[in-house]
Symmetry: C2
Subunit: 341 residues, 2 copies
Amino acid sequence: MPDSVVIALDAMGGDFGPEVVIPAAAKVIAKRDNLSMVLVGDQERLRDCAQRHNIQLHDRLRVQHASEVVEMSDEPAMAMRKKKDSSMRVAINLVHQGIADAAVSAGNTGALMAIAKFVLKTLPGIDRPAICTTIPSKDGHTQMLDLGANVDCTAGHLFQFAVMGSVLTEAIDNVQRPRVGLLNIGSESMKGNAQVKAADESLVDAPLNYIGFVEGDDIYSDKVDVVVCDGFVGNISLKTAEGVARLIGYYMKQEFKRGLYNRLAGLIALPVLRAFRKRIDPSAYNGASLLGLKGIVVKSHGGADVNAFANAIENAIVEANQSVPQKIQEHIQPLLQRQSA
Amino acid sequence: MPDSVVIALDAMGGDFGPEVVIPAAAKVIAKRDNLSMVLVGDQERLRDCAQRHNIQLHDRLRVQHASEVVEMSDEPAMAMRKKKDSSMRVAINLVHQGIADAAVSAGNTGALMAIAKFVLKTLPGIDRPAICTTIPSKDGHTQMLDLGANVDCTAGHLFQFAVMGSVLTEAIDNVQRPRVGLLNIGSESMKGNAQVKAADESLVDAPLNYIGFVEGDDIYSDKVDVVVCDGFVGNISLKTAEGVARLIGYYMKQEFKRGLYNRLAGLIALPVLRAFRKRIDPSAYNGASLLGLKGIVVKSHGGADVNAFANAIENAIVEANQSVPQKIQEHIQPLLQRQSA
């Protein structure tokens, strides 16, 4: 049985703050013995919220006071410098101090990245942390990074992302030698921008299961386990997917409302459509990892509901049990020495 | 009534060559009087194919011989230099010579762009042509460019794409002052890479209906009419959308096959699902414009079927009737003078 895990939760972050975070924490803790959680935020509001939800606070679900809140509109640098007692900062401090094994926040992504990088620092050999998330694919799923932390990336950054993504996938998805692909606009080696071509050259020689270039549609196939790209492209690809899924849902609703037959067919097909919707439910995939730090930080979607936030907590627990930062460090060192040799 | 239009078709291009191109041409010409088409390719194969499909060749649907074919695997530069009598090249030559008003090809995109640029040249003030396509949105559609012709773009290129996209949309979609958005990873002005930020600054001052930054999901909303991005990002976004749509279709099929009830529900819902599928059918959107050239070139998807290729021809006809290159030229000149002033 793994050791007891402690998770620090930024209880004020996201669109709903404690109203989602506390019920999600209670839901996760009810299923586990060897788990503690620290709810970080305004103690009065948190106690009040717990009471309203009939959730008992105890020594495995305790409150740690923090007087400030990072707003969604706050500039990351300002949030870092001016709000030293924010719930986000205090949660990450708990990881830094070794009191918690991981922090989870649904707050401002830029601020979370800036504060996490400042407080925890990056692992030796990692220039920049990356955001990695799980994406559904045909009969499984894909890990994709970076998703917006790094707008401009060199080939060296992409190389580091590839290593981190491979280690994460091996650790949390239990995949041996995950297939790593570099996102490009064609699978031929002559295509792509300079960074992608140079990263491809160094990845070919790396002791990873590097399968070469992949295209945007391959993310959703079962061709690849880890998709590597810069944060600009990754964010746009992810948002595109959200837009397409929403559009298809909208069209389908419209079709099932067009006339009496369609409405009846829709009623009959409802259980199937519900099962289908559950399958593409983004909350099952909520919880992106900030990789490359000396500590575990998981970012929840700002608009996450209780189930979705609970999923982000579960991801943090798996990463803590698997000691993901230590594993990244073990893997990156020999590769970097090799690369610079 | 508009003047008679002549369209040159690369009859050998794409996965199916004349087997798709000739029936598509016959389908389109049957609906119109003031239209001629030139089928360019191996004359024996074309005549044979027309005969097999019971399609009568006549002076409005004639064959022009070309002895070579650009293969999908050909390097663009090689296809341009070595295959001077390719069906693709001869079709574009017909536009250059003023014999045809537009060329349509389902062949190798890179080769088509290289040959079109070499033969037709870009309009004054346009550094690079861009590929623009129509994308379905909630209750209408969006034009998006560039989709892969230009991997690295400066702010100036993005500015030119914005002007070209705006002119195209006004001309072919009959939208007054189309809303132009720049694809970015957030709507705040502090986000994005250097090119995108600089393009944003010059677009704010341009006499376009520029609405600022848009995100990946906005492409599929009704928030914007023209989405501008570099070809690397555009291609990955487009391929992502294809991957997501395919994945959702796969999941839905699986759900409707899970057990007897679901199968019956699927049968009952079949007409609705078919109408839905028709609505997201990519063939209705087939036919991307190569914008910025002194002539009209439309690229069909390589795997297009007869309906899809017919749609690409229809797009070429609309662009010819609307004199899109002339309109781009009229718009770009004063803007560029203004920009450099």
